[in-house]
Amino acid sequence: MTREELQDNILSILIDDFEFENPGLDDNLRDDHNFDSIDAIELLGKIEIMLGTSLSREEKEKAMGIRTINDILDYIEQLDVMRNNS
């Protein structure tokens, strides 16, 4: 999946399931969209479905520090790289 495709998928999840309005890639998720830790956990479940793979506890913990949509995209790309290398 290219970064653009990933971005489209993530944006559509954030708009449809998390009620984001006009999300910007560098918006602060918490301050601008009230996206909290519970949302992060729900989003991780959707990322698992999107990637067709389960995330480990350590991988999920890393995601709890995410601040922006660009961070989410970087996080998924890193997951992809790590899985391809292992």
Partner: protein
């Protein structure tokens, strides 16, 4: 004349204050010595030896506060507790509640032996108390920093906890509300209900602030009062066919929540 009037009432006022001090000190004695003498060993057992440490700790918490409210019933008999059976029968649900006094969480812990709740993150760092709430499976309000792992663990096990009959109770206003309508409403509980596909009960607490007024150290022991819990509404969204957004849930809950205010 005014001086005579006030001096006439001084002994009654003094007796009332004395009664308030007695009730307050008795409760604090239970919190400290009662915990050490009667509950420290059972808590240690629950923490290190029980098969299901979380459930055992929750039940001990519930028992501890049952005794506290029994002490209050004896030492402050003008206060009554009215908890209908329909409240005690609630299972496998997310319960959202108004918040009037520090007694509210204690009352709900007393009422629901199997419970989890969301607690201010800083409390998890306190000695003993932090250990008890961690063992009981309570959830930190924020999953930042080193609480990320713990919050993940608690939320991952939440669906099975609810399915097995446990309740999650939450005060969505976050702090005690001294007005009639809901103050700032944190939708975290509704997000968890949606995540776990659980029914939502809106429960209204009344008059705990009469017994233990916000901002006071002393219990107000002598006033005639009935502390009540009542179900205002039960929301069972159709999560399978028409999953609601958090905003929709929040709207429904807030309507019921504000209707429940006297």
């Amino acid at each position: 004349m005014a001086e005579m009037h006030s001096s006439k009432h001084q002994p009654a006022h003094f007796t009332a204050r004395l009664a308030d001090w007695f009730v307050t000190l008795t409760c604090w004695t239970w919190f400290t010595l009662g915990f050490i003498c009667c509950f420290s060993l059972p808590y240690a057992y629950a923490a290190f030896l029980a098969k299901d440490s979380e459930t055992a700790t929750q039940k001990l918490n519930s028992l501890f506060f049952r005794v506290l409210f029994a002490i209050l019933r004896v030492t402050a008999p003008s206060h009554r507790l009215d908890i209908p059976p329909e409240i005690e029968a609630i299972r496998s649900s997310v319960i959202v509640c108004n918040h009037l006094s520090y007694l509210d969480p204690l009352l709900l812990i007393r009422t629901f032996p199997r419970h989890r709740t969301i607690v201010k993150t800083r409390f998890f760092s306190l000695p003993i108390f932090g250990q008890v709430i961690t063992r009981a499976g309570y959830i930190p309000a924020s999953g930042e920093g080193h609480f990320a792992r713990f919050m993940l663990q608690q939320l991952e096990t939440m669906p099975s906890f609810l399915r097995s009959g446990g309740n999650l109770f939450v005060f969505p206003e976050g702090t005690r509300n001294r007005g009639e309508k809901a103050a700032t409403f944190h939708p975290g509980a509704l997000k968890i209900a949606r995540l776990c596909q659980a029914p939502i009960y809106i429960v209204h607490i009344e008059n705990t602030e009469v017994l233990f007024p916000p901002g006071k150290f002393l219990f107000n022991s002598r006033r005639k009062n009935t502390i009540t819990l009542r179900v205002v509404d039960r929301i069972q969204p159709d999560y399978q066919n028409a999953p609601p957004s958090v905003t929709e849930l929040e709207k429904q809950v807030l309507e019921a929540y504000n209707q429940g205010s006297p």
